[in-house]
Symmetry: C2
Subunit: 113 residues, 2 copies
DNA sequence: TTGACATACTGTGTGATATACAGTATTATT
DNA sequence: AATAATACTGTATATCACACAGTATGTCAA
């Protein structure tokens, strides 16, 4: 019986979190490769194969906008959060807070037997 | 162009969180329907159609065990976290903490311009 | 005493997602 | 001249949240 590999456990966590992280980061315009390095700087890491499709999806949803910079070096696609994106981001953050509260409460119960 | 509905935003958050919540809750043995009500009591909510498949999946992964109670009323399938489940739970909680730290840091930057 | 509703599940299907894989092209670096 | 790093695109795949359909028992009002 096939089941998920325990060493790939981070994957299980990424769905909700990655979006919040990216939408917060895009307060400042950034292109994909730049964000990969930015995320490492702040102590996390994302797969290139995860970030690029996610940026495309956020764009499709209208949560971020994009703009090519062709004036310096090779072309870079700068993304930035939209007004709609900020609305969504607030909702996601609020859900995150609720979930964080639930986890804290349950964790306390487990720790105190 | 099809895109996700904004009012279904909670879905985006559930992947990682639901597992932690269920694995914490299952410190005490519970059957599915009981957990649905328990989760509402502590201020959250899960779809029946999400919880049951999740319990089956956690079982398949060996993170929880199950046992039928056929002695009272109608049959109830009690689940409980396993040793392996506790190991996974620790890892998930640790990832959650890291992610929470990343969000807090980014949020502070956004708020302070 | 029946029929509606809550309880307590199972099995299979679907659409969206994280990631894989393959590929294009430019700019350092050695 | 070759290699690595940069900076992307497009399509494929496995898994997940949730939908849908179904089974069966217990409760309680009309």
């Amino acid at each position: 019986m096939k089941s998920i590999k325990d060493n790939k456990i981070e994957v299980e966590m990424n769905r909700g979190f990655l979006q919040i992280m990216v939408l917060l980061a895009l307060e400042t315009p950034m292109y994909g490769y730049m964000m990969l390095r930015f995320i490492e700087e702040i102590g996390y890491s994302v797969e290139e194969n995860t970030l690029y499709p996610m940026l495309r999806r956020l764009k499709k949803n209208g949560w971020v906008s994009s703009k090519w910079d062709v004036e310096h070096d090779r072309p870079k696609k700068y993304y930035e959060i939209t007004k709609k994106g900020k609305t969504i981001r607030s909702k996601l953050l609020s859900i995150w807070q609720t979930q964080n509260g639930v986890i804290k409460k349950l964790l306390k119960e487990v720790e105190n037997g």
